[in-house]
């Protein structure tokens, strides 16, 4: 079997600040057709200390840097709960259309009908896909969607003249969940999942009271399981007039199959840069639209898009709105890509989920004798293993992840969720073909075999990328955050 990880000449490239010469230019400066005007010398600055580079230097610099990166276009990226699916190129083309790329957000509505129509339609499409009633496209990422959810909790309870101070958060929750709750002044109350890896209704009933604003759930959860008790849990929370917030990061498992509204969810956020194929960009930009049931619609962020006889406009006339999260209306460039994706797939989005879950279960089945499977039951779109079986060779999850790199794969998510020590969370997504999955499975088996026979190969891995393991302790003890700066 020939693995993808190989050797090759990689070129070094210094920092930009170590290159260039004064007077070089990498840009075509526009023609000057006005005179120099008077300028108050007291206000004038020296301008920043940037290097001057020619276009060739800039192009070569970033071209070389790109060769040190691993993207979805390079190879499989099985990060759990990240849904690193293929980013369709046609979506890029649509977002780059001059009519969208060059549009100013404060144009009079009559001059921006095209993008307003697209956004209005996207809201309807997302409502249909999730089973919810109303949508705001404003939040810039999942975490901001969660903050929006917490602000909606706050507005709802304030409207009902009820003061609540706590939010229930499962032990499997992503760190953004308690962080978002805390931003809004709520204290997170942790609830443990049971030995099936899901929340039990009575565990929630134990902590749900009149001081609790509601619960934040992820469904399927970060262990890759559908929260099968969710309807009962929602009933328990609703009985004390609490709200159910769903983190939709794992939506890729249930498109066209489960209905968030049927589950009892009141508010949900989606990650367009996960489920809806927009590029992750090395860390963003993404988008985190929020979908709500009807009773929460009045509180949604403003402005909202109104449609009146084929004419679209933006309105701030929503007196109960929680306010604004984004300077304008959301990450439109990202929204356009998601719209293009949804229009390309239509009802086939159900197939997306079916194949995503198929791929994850295939990997689970094939690796369950190689790695310790945290919970021995079928999973949804992701599965969680641990390094328990490798303890005797003093090989850790980290070591195995780093060695996988040499075989040509981006490692899965490691050490999350926290409830599984040494967790290895694998989400292949539906865009990986069977041959690639088989190669990944063989690679992991080879790594585990090495752990038993030549553990030193893992302890000092990776061997092949541009750099070896990096001194993260030194970086944190003596932070150097700018060129020429100790900080």
């Amino acid at each position: 079997m020939e693995f993808s990880g190989s050797t090759g000449l990689v070129l070094n490239e210094p920092l930009l600040f170590e290159k260039g010469k004064k007077g070089r230019s990498g840009i075509s400066l526009p023609r000057r057709d006005v005179d120099f005007a008077e300028l108050d010398e007291a206000l004038k600055g020296d301008g920043p200390d940037f290097p001057d580079l020619c276009e060739v230097e800039v192009v070569r610099h970033y071209t070389r840097l790109s060769t040190w990166n691993f993207g979805i276009d390079t190879g499989m990226y099985p990060l759990g709960s990240c849904t690193m699916k293929y980013n369709p190129k046609i979506n890029e083309k649509q977002a780059a259309l001059p009519g969208f790329a060059g549009a100013h957000p404060l144009l009079p509505s009559v001059l921006s009908q095209g993008v307003l129509k697209l956004m209005f339609e996207l809201e309807s499409l997302l409502a249909e896909i999730t089973g919810m009633d109303a949508v705001s496209l404003q939040p810039s990422a999942g975490a901001q969607g969660e903050l929006t959810g917490m602000l909606l909790f706050h507005a709802y309870h304030k409207h009902n003249k009820s003061s609540r101070s706590k939010v229930i958060v499962p032990d499997t929750a992503h760190g953004t969940n308690p962080a978002s709750a805390a931003l809004c002044g709520y204290s997170p109350v942790c609830v443990k999942s049971n030995d099936r890896g899901v929340l039990a209704a009575d565990a929630v009933a134990e902590v749900m009271d009149d001081e609790t604003a509601g619960i934040m759930v992820t469904n399927p959860n970060t262990l890759g399981f559908f929260e099968e008790n969710i309807k009962e849990i929602a009933r328990i929370v609703h009985a004390k007039d609490g709200l159910v917030y769903a983190d939709g990061a794992n939506m890729n498992a249930i498109l066209g199959i489960a209905s968030m509204a049927e589950l009892g969810v009141d508010i949900l956020h989606l990650n367009l840069h996960k489920t809806f194929s927009t590029p992750h960009g090395g860390g963003g930009p993404g988008a985190g639209p929020v979908c709500v049931r009807k009773h929460l619609e009045p509180f949604l962020p403003a402005p909202r898009i109104l449609a009146d006889d084929g004419k679209y406009s933006l309105s701030y006339d929503f007196p109960s709105s929680i306010g604004k999260l984004h300077a304008f209306y959301g990450n439109t460039g990202v929204l356009i890509r998601a719209y293009s994706y949804i229009r390309s797939l239509g009802p086939e989005l159900k197939k997306v989920s079916q194949l995503a879950v198929l791929n994850a279960n295939y990997i689970r089945e094939k690796l369950k004798h190689t790695l310790h499977l945290a919970y021995d039951r079928p999973c949804m779109h992701e599965c969680v293993f641990s390094d328990k079986l490798q303890a005797s060779s003093k090989t850790t999850t980290l070591d195995m992840a780093k060695r996988l790199i040499d075989f040509g794969f981006h490692p899965p998510t490691i050490y999350f969720p926290l409830v599984v020590p040494g967790a290895i969370m694998i989400e292949p997504t539906e865009t990986e073909c069977k041959e690639e999955l088989d190669l990944f499975i063989e690679a992991f088996k080879a790594v585990v075999k090495e752990a038993g026979e030549h553990p030193e190969l893992l302890h000092d891995a990776p061997w092949r990328p541009k750099v070896r393991r990096l001194d993260e302790t030194g970086a944190a003890r003596n932070p150097r955050l700018t060129c020429g700066g100790g900080a």
Binding site: Y415, E472, T473, A476, R477
Partner: protein, 133 residues
């Protein structure tokens, strides 16, 4: 990760369930974290020292220890006023890793109730607790 038999656990000091140690030194109580704590946290990159002059109750959170991937809370083994802190830890947080009981001490407390020391674990009791973890 060290085995229990590999850990340094001095006989002449007391321990808490959160892996702090406390040593009576004249009329002061010197505190720090144990070898177990530093081993589990990993390379310490930053110590948020307790505030000099501040008064805490026993069990109060009074500082933090950060490694690259984790943060550990520091809890007061006994209540009292913080009368001294180990400023060396600002530039050399690694002292907590290399010498958790000597050069890596964290703070000196003027105890409000010296009998609180008697409630802390001895060397033997601490080892029993570690075995149960």
């Amino acid at each position: 990760m060290k085995e229990i038999s590999e850990l340094l656990i001095p006989q002449d000091i007391r321990y808490t369930k959160d892996h702090e140690w406390a040593k009576l030194d004249g009329d002061k109580v010197r505190i720090g974290v144990t070898d177990y704590a530093q081993d589990r946290l990993g390379d310490i990159v930053f110590v948020e020292l307790p505030q000099l002059g501040k008064k805490f109750k026993k069990g109060d959170g009074c500082g933090t220890l950060e490694s690259v991937k984790a943060v550990g809370e520091l809890y007061m083994p006994v209540g009292g006023e913080v009368v001294g802190v180990n400023k060396k830890l600002e530039d050399s947080p690694d002292l907590v890793n290399t010498s958790p009981y000597t050069d890596g001490w964290i703070a000196d407390i003027n105890p409000s109730d010296r009998s609180e020391m008697d409630g802390l674990m001895t060397h033997d009791a601490y080892i029993e607790m570690l075995k149960g973890l």
